[in-house]
């Protein structure tokens, strides 16, 4: 596989049960303050013909192709790796919060402990060692993975559309897999 592949999260939304294990696994790996979450799980009540159902969206940084955070950052604290992963150099962050407002996916937040922005870096320290990110390894239902987005999108069941999630101008790199009707 080429190093220039675009890496992104692949989420099987139809199997997510909203337990929050991904959120906690991420917090623990990243040693985050208790109320700071890189990955969140939202519940949507979706009306269908025979009544409402619950659908969960587990989401964090979408590692966009045109990252809004990077574009607005006055100190150039954001960087896109060769593999497409958007990383933040917190040393350079002044906590101005422009990226927080710019991100359409609410993936960047200011940390209460040091006043600087922080977000998911797809656990690159694990990926670079051939290991799965904390949320991927930490999902007991196994509904999150990382993959080469261009390849994954060739599957008929793959798209950038899901409940609570859609494509936008920043070109997010999360793919939803939907195998069941």
């Amino acid at each position: 596989m080429s190093i220039n592949q675009k890496v992104g999260f692949v989420f099987r939304q139809e199997n997510c049960v909203g337990c929050g294990a991904c959120t906690v696994a991420c917090q623990i790996h990243n040693e985050l303050p208790e109320n700071h979450r890189f990955r969140k799980v939202d519940r949507y009540e979706v009306e269908r013909e025979d009544g409402a159902i619950d659908v969960w969206l587990s989401h964090s940084c979408m590692h966009c192709e045109n990252p809004a955070c990077l574009m607005v950052c006055p100190t150039k604290a954001y960087h896109v790796r060769d593999d497409g992963i958007v990383v933040l150099d917190r040393e350079k962050c002044t906590g101005c919060g422009l990226c927080v407002s710019a991100c359409p996916y609410s993936a960047v937040n200011i940390r209460e402990d040091d006043g600087k922005a922080d977000k998911c870096n797809m656990c690159v320290e694990l990926l670079d060692r051939g290991m799965a990110p904390a949320c991927v390894a930490g999902c007991p239902v196994q509904c999150i993975e990382v993959g080469n987005i261009d390849e994954v999108l060739k599957k008929p069941s793959a798209s950038k559309e899901g409940v609570g999630y859609g494509d936008c101008i920043t070109k997010p790199n999360m793919v939803i897999i939907k195998e069941r009707a």
Partner: protein, 738 residues
């Protein structure tokens, strides 16, 4: 560097990634560290690995791998060598390091320095603690008899030593009152035994071969989250998912068909499905003829129940029920999973019986991919409990009194203690370990009143200041499960697993064996050799069994220690030999067991409302108090990363909320003649009209509104129809905006 799939899988645990979402290799290839990484975050993953079984009371019974550095636990992950596990603990298990090193752990003995419950404590040494406890217990034994001492415990530690092996030896030597630990499964045990003779069933690993998975009264997300991947594997092969639950669980949302009966009307629903199967030639007549007794009685009984009545009682439109029954009846292989909640009703045994009978009408026993899964205690039931607990050293085991743990409030009643409906001798001392009955037992206010008695001596062995501990006379610090060696039995898959000691005890804490062993010595009871042994001997005593589950493959202590987990023997397919475990050897549609219990021999349509006092029956809401994914009974309420997941909410149906003027996040008050509780409303169609749902076993002390609210302020302590089990869900409440 190029990483092939094999190399990657070795990195994350070979058996874990069985199917990839994308169908592609999930990792990336990069030989060198690029910008943006935080390699310091990997330091916690370096160290010695210890295998330890989670001992919370959950059907997953996870085998976890702990990393230890210089004696300190630093990281936890799933033991991916085990097929059921994958790489992940559950949401709570992720936080076991935070659980272990919680800032509010009690690390030294304390005695009460004010009035009961006043919150004033004096630190004492272990020598003082032992002296005070043993002298008070000796006085009580002298003045009132040893049977005035009652242990209270349940599933705070589910290990072989932690649950029974350690503590029971002490209570047997003392000659204490027996606690009937029947809070959970026993009503369903009776109901299921009346049909097939057993509550055990097929191996859940075979769920992947089914054509139709039925989740009946279970929330897998809360108590069997690791089993969900097997359901999804079956669905990816084309299996249907059918769900019956009064609450829209996550699996209900994902189901092909979800039926939402009014709570506790499952007998009627099962009868309706049976009627449909029979009327539409979907009953397996060949199976019924070969394997059952009393089918004509069943036909007659079903004739007495109309679809009109079923529709009225269950609240499910018949067309929807027919649709469900058709998919079920047309499936070649259907496996049914019965949850551990629905039996906690006054009609728990009778409902469980009807559901099992339905599965027999469908002919769904005896093949790989079908069957009825409830409590797979193949490993646990095979252990030598009487030897492991040293039951033989109890001076009067056959004549000593019993207290049912569900009736603890009645047993501790200040003026009129009762048990099983009869007056009982007063209890003068309670030693509470592995439990927190003031928030976990039903009728919490009454429990609290009982404990507040001046003449009751309460010793609590725990590592947190629980609702029960705050009322204690003496608190002695327990370890967590990670601070001593043990083993654990799986009750879903057929495993026996190791629980290696991960770290040394923190502070002055002592585990469930050392505390009771040393207390026995201070009481002068260590002349019993059973009270002088080590952990290994207790485990060996439990494993001294002739049961085929262990003997068939000759499973030994050494093997479990070496291999970390073993699979005990069971026939596959389950009931493949066509020999059922009833007296007749057949599935019994007509049951003498039911007659003996005073119920209809075929199907008994009794409902919980029939047994409520009018004051409660007339209240407008039924309260269900099931488990939620982010707590395990009363555990994890204090744990960083977990404690902020809501556990003090009441789910209210959208239409009901509109009528009562309740909006999302409003404060609401639930009440009945037992008490009141204040929660935050979650308005949702997840619950049906006339039902509210509040999480079970929340603490009074942790109530974020500071009103000492807990769900069990409201719950009933009346026992189930059979099995002497708790009936928490047979509770009615009033609901209003607070």
């Amino acid at each position: 560097m190029k990483i092939n799939r094999r190399t990657f899988l070795q990195g994350v645990g070979a058996s874990s990634v069985v199917s990839s979402l994308s169908g592609l290799m999930p990792g990336i290839a990069s030989a060198t560290e690029q910008r943006g990484g935080a390699p310091d975050k990997l330091l916690k993953r370096e160290g010695v690995i210890k295998y330890h079984t989670c001992q919370r009371n959950c059907a997953d019974r996870c085998l976890l791998k702990f990393t230890v550095q210089n004696g300190r636990m630093t990281y936890v992950e799933g033991a991916s060598e085990m097929k059921k596990m994958g790489t992940s603990p559950c949401v709570k298990g992720h936080a076991y390091v935070q659980y272990t090193y919680a800032a509010d752990r009690i690390l030294h003995p304390m005695e009460r320095a004010g009035k009961k419950g006043e919150g004033k404590w004096r630190r004492i040494s272990w020598d003082e603690a032992y002296a005070k406890i043993s002298s008070r217990l000796k006085t009580i034994i002298k003045e009132h008899g040893a049977d005035s001492i009652l242990p209270y415990s349940y599933s705070g530690h589910e290990g072989v030593i932690g649950k029974y092996g350690g503590p029971s030896r002490f209570f047997n030597a003392v000659g204490a009152r027996k606690l009937d630990r029947k809070v959970c499964v026993f009503a369903a045990y009776e109901g299921l035994k009346s049909v097939t003779g057993t509550y055990q069933g097929p191996d859940p690993y075979d769920n992947i071969y089914t054509n139709c998975y039925i989740s009946w009264g279970q929330n897998e997300t809360a108590t069997n989250v690791h089993g969900i991947k097997f359901i999804n594997q079956a669905r990816d092969r084309g299996a249907k998912l059918l769900v019956v639950n009064p609450i829209r669980t996550p699996i209900a949302s994902q189901a092909d068909i979800w039926l939402q009966p009014k709570p506790s009307t499952d007998t009627h629903l099962a009868a309706g499905i049976m009627k449909y199967l029979i009327e539409n030639n979907l009953a397996d007549t060949k199976f019924i003829e070969a394997n059952t007794l009393g089918y004509q009685d069943l036909l007659k009984r079903l004739d007495e129940m109309s679809y009109d009545e079923i529709e009225k009682v269950t609240g499910i439109p018949r067309e929807k029920m027919f649709k469900f029954a058709k998919v079920y009846g047309e499936s070649e292989l259907s496996v049914l999973r019965l949850g551990y909640g629905m039996q906690r009703n006054y009609n728990g045994a009778r409902m469980s019986r009807a559901i099992a009978m339905m599965h027999a009408v469908a002919g769904q026993f005896g093949k790989i991919g079908n069957g009825f899964i409830y409590d797979n205690t193949q490993a646990d039931d095979s252990l030598n409990y009487s030897k492991g607990r040293a039951d033989h050293i109890h001076p009067n085991p056959d004549t000593v009194g019993h207290v049912n743990m569900t009736e603890i409030a009645k047993a501790l009643h200040p003026t009129n203690p009762t048990g099983y409906g009869k007056p009982i001798k007063p209890i003068k001392a309670v030693i509470n370990y592995n439990g927190n009955f003031v928030s976990v037992a039903p009728d919490s206010n009454a429990c609290r009143r009982g404990v507040m008695r001046d003449d009751l001596f309460l010793v609590v062995h725990d590592f947190l200041m629980t609702d029960t501990a705050e009322l204690a006379d003496i608190i002695v610090p327990s370890t967590t499960q990670f601070e001593f060696p043990d083993m654990g039995t799986d009750y879903n898959c057929y495993h026996m697993q190791t629980s290696e000691k991960v770290i040394e005890p923190l502070g002055e804490s002592k585990d469930n064996w050392i505390f009771f062993k040393e207390l026995a010595a201070h009481m002068g009871l260590d002349h019993h050799p059973e009270l002088r042994v080590d952990y290994e001997q207790i485990l060996r005593d439990f494993l001294d069994t002739d049961a085929p589950a262990f003997r068939h493959n000759n499973i030994t202590y050494e093997q479990i220690i070496k291999e970390k987990f073993v699979t005990v023997y069971e026939q596959r397919p389950y009931f493949g030999d066509g020999k059922y475990k009833t007296d007749s050897g057949k599935i019994e549609f007509h049951s003498q067991m039911m007659i003996d219990a005073g119920y209809h021999p075929v199907i008994d349509f009794g409902l919980p409302e029939d047994e409520m006092i009018p004051e409660e029956r007339n209240l407008p809401f039924r309260m269900l108090s099931p488990a939620i994914p982010q707590r395990a009974n009363s555990a994890f309420y204090n744990v960083k990363y977990i404690r902020n997941f809501p556990a003090y909410f009441a789910k209210v149906n959208t239409e009901d909320a509109k009528e009562l003027g309740i909006k999302n996040n409003d404060r609401v008050r639930l009440s009945n003649h037992r008490g009141e509780a204040f929660f935050v409303a979650q308005v949702s169609s997840q619950v049906g009209r006339g039902t509210v749902m509040a999480p079970k076993n929340n603490w009074r002390r942790m109530d974020p509104q500071g009103k000492s609210s807990c769900t069990n302020n409201l719950t009933t302590d009346k026992l189930t129809d059979m099995g002497g089990c708790s009936a928490y869900h047979s509770t009615n409440v009033a609901l209003e905006k607070a």
